[in-house]
């Protein structure tokens, strides 16, 4: 048992680095995912993840597989798409979901094209699915910084974020903080996606946000507890996925997301708040 669970991490440095990386991603991604879910923006996260690709690809075109270039490129592209989609939905008849879908499809096509211009298929796979087993010091520092910024920012913005989800009219009547708070939140989403992108690639980065958040929703009605549960689900998925990939020789990124998917399925079936088991056998009704 110890052999199975511990020694992959104690013996191999790349596994230790991967472990640190996924824990950092889980710490920031889980809470952001909870808010995305509660704000009914789950698919927005997905769209934003794709939107990052052309920026990262341009960075790659200029500097090869360089961390700063691809990070900065991804951040810029993500923010541009978020703002552009927001503007289109505010100024025209198109709703935000439709304009986001348009922008992210464009981004994905553009990104894959740009990477193919210079790189090989291997590089393309790097960008799309990440390199969680090859995280260097620089990347780990970046991931740790992003999760630190995220947790601090969410702690500061917690109240207006919640209020804007529950009762936006009320927030508008007492404060003008709604729009800036929303923008900062979108910034956090992009930041976490760019971090997740290095480890898990553009296509799976959002998985470490939404799957833990969706799983956590089945266990509690309390937002704070939900965020803690989502972090726990993220960390367990990271560890489980790394072990799975190590022992079964599966690609690590997909193994992590599959593990998260398994935990989501488990929560869906057994979760105390609206899980299928409790819906099927709710027990005898109460007296009052």
């Amino acid at each position: 048992m110890v052999e199975f669970l511990i020694s992959p991490f104690s013996e191999f440095e790349f596994m230790q680095r991967a472990l640190v990386g996924v824990i950092a991603i889980a710490l920031g991604g889980g809470p952001v995912g909870v808010f995305l879910m509660l704000r009914r923006m789950s698919l927005t996260g997905d769209a934003m993840a794709h939107a990052i690709l052309p920026g990262a690809a341009v960075g790659y075109l200029i500097a090869g597989l360089s961390l700063p270039a691809m990070t900065i490129g991804g951040l810029i592209a993500g923010v541009i798409v978020a703002v552009a989609a927001g503007l289109v939905s505010r100024l025209t008849n198109l709703k935000e979901d439709a304009s986001l879908a348009a922008f992210y499809l464009l981004s994905l096509a553009l990104g894959v094209t740009i990477v193919s211009l210079r790189g090989s298929n291997v590089d393309l796979l790097h960008v799309l699915f990440g390199t969680v087993l090859a995280l260097d010091d620089q990347t780990l520092l970046l991931l740790a910084s992003i999760s630190t910024i995220t947790v601090l920012a969410l702690a500061l913005l917690y109240r207006p974020l919640v209020l804007e989800c529950v009762d936006p009219t009320f927030l508008r009547s007492v404060s003008r903080s709604g729009t800036p708070v929303h923008l900062v939140f979108v910034g956090l989403v992009v930041l976490n996606l760019v971090g997740g992108f290095h480890a898990l690639g553009t296509l799976l980065a959002v998985g470490m946000m939404m799957l833990p958040a969706a799983a956590a929703r089945f266990w509690t009605n309390d937002i704070t507890v939900m965020m803690v549960v989502s972090i726990a689900v993220g960390i367990v998925s990271g560890i489980g996925g790394l072990l799975l990939s190590f022992h079964a020789e599966l690609p690590a990124g997909p193994a992590i997301i599959l593990t998260a998917g398994g935990l989501y399925g488990l929560s869906l079936a057994l979760g105390r708040e609206g899980g299928l088991l409790w819906l099927a056998w709710p027990g005898k009704h109460l007296e009052a």
Binding site: L157, V166, D167, T169, F170, I223
Partner: protein
């Protein structure tokens, strides 16, 4: 409680360029208790949005005059609250302390006592930990009134607060309205129940896009005025010419 008055200077509010409230001129006196009455589509909710400031007038000026910044408390029609959001009744009501606590401020022991008093005043003791998704329509309205109580505003705007609310709850909440009036707060409520207006509200604004009558409730709600209001044409004319009133 220094009350707030609301002054309208030839105010036109609307959507696109079509007026929903057309050339309203007058004042809601400080400490008054005013009902806003009129047919559907008469611009009643629009008027409240104009006072809160979420809708800017197409023309004219709305000015709030009171001592200090005296916050406005606003209860929108069928409040746009996401009832599926995992939030407790206590936390919903506690939002009323926003002007005191702001974005980051803590909630101290005094604030907790206030929250308890507000919950007691609307008869929601025992509901503190319940998620808002489990509340009935009437219980939700009680919770929102508790939040209004905590806002401690000198101007309180209520948009159809008693629609689809049972008699007992309506009576309880009306007592709160009377209490606010006794405390010299300015209260404006959009209502459809004319008997209730006659019983409780000394002042009435009857509006049908154009203001029809404004003043003492007994005079305003005369059969002639009500007939005039009822004859309002709801649909706007898509080819209407620019308004020439006050042009000269």
């Amino acid at each position: 409680m220094p009350a707030t008055s609301v002054r309208f200077d030839e105010v036109t509010l609307g959507y696109g360029r079509h007026p929903a409230v057309h050339h309203l001129d007058g004042e809601i006196a400080a400490g008054s208790l005013t009902a806003v009455v009129g047919p559907n589509g008469a611009g009643k909710s629009t008027l409240l949005k104009g006072i809160v400031g979420t809708l800017a007038p197409l023309e004219g000026r709305i000015s709030l005059n009171g001592a200090g910044p005296g916050p406005v408390a606003y209860l929108p029609q069928a409040a746009e609250i996401d009832r599926s959001f995992p939030l407790s009744v206590y936390d919903l009501v506690a939002m009323g302390l926003w002007s005191r606590s702001g974005l980051f401020g803590g909630i101290g022991r005094k604030d907790r006592t206030r929250i308890e008093h507000a919950l007691a005043a609307v008869g929601l003791i025992g509901f503190e930990r319940r998620p808002i998704s489990t509340l009935s329509g009437g219980q939700m309205q009680r919770a929102l009134f508790a939040r209004l109580l905590l806002q401690d505003a000198s101007l309180i705007l209520l948009d159809e607060p008693f629609t689809a609310i049972d008699a007992k709850t309506t009576a309880d909440l009306l007592d709160l309205v009377r209490r606010w009036h006794a405390e010299k707060r300015t209260v404006v409520a959009v209502l459809h129940d004319l008997d209730m207006v006659r019983r409780v509200f000394p002042e009435t604004l009857l509006i049908a896009r154009e203001p029809v009558a404004w003043g003492e409730t007994g005079h305003v709600l005369s059969p002639e005025n009500l007939l005039t209001a009822r004859q309002m044409v709801e649909a706007y004319d898509p080819h209407a010419a620019p308004c020439q009133r006050n042009a000269a």
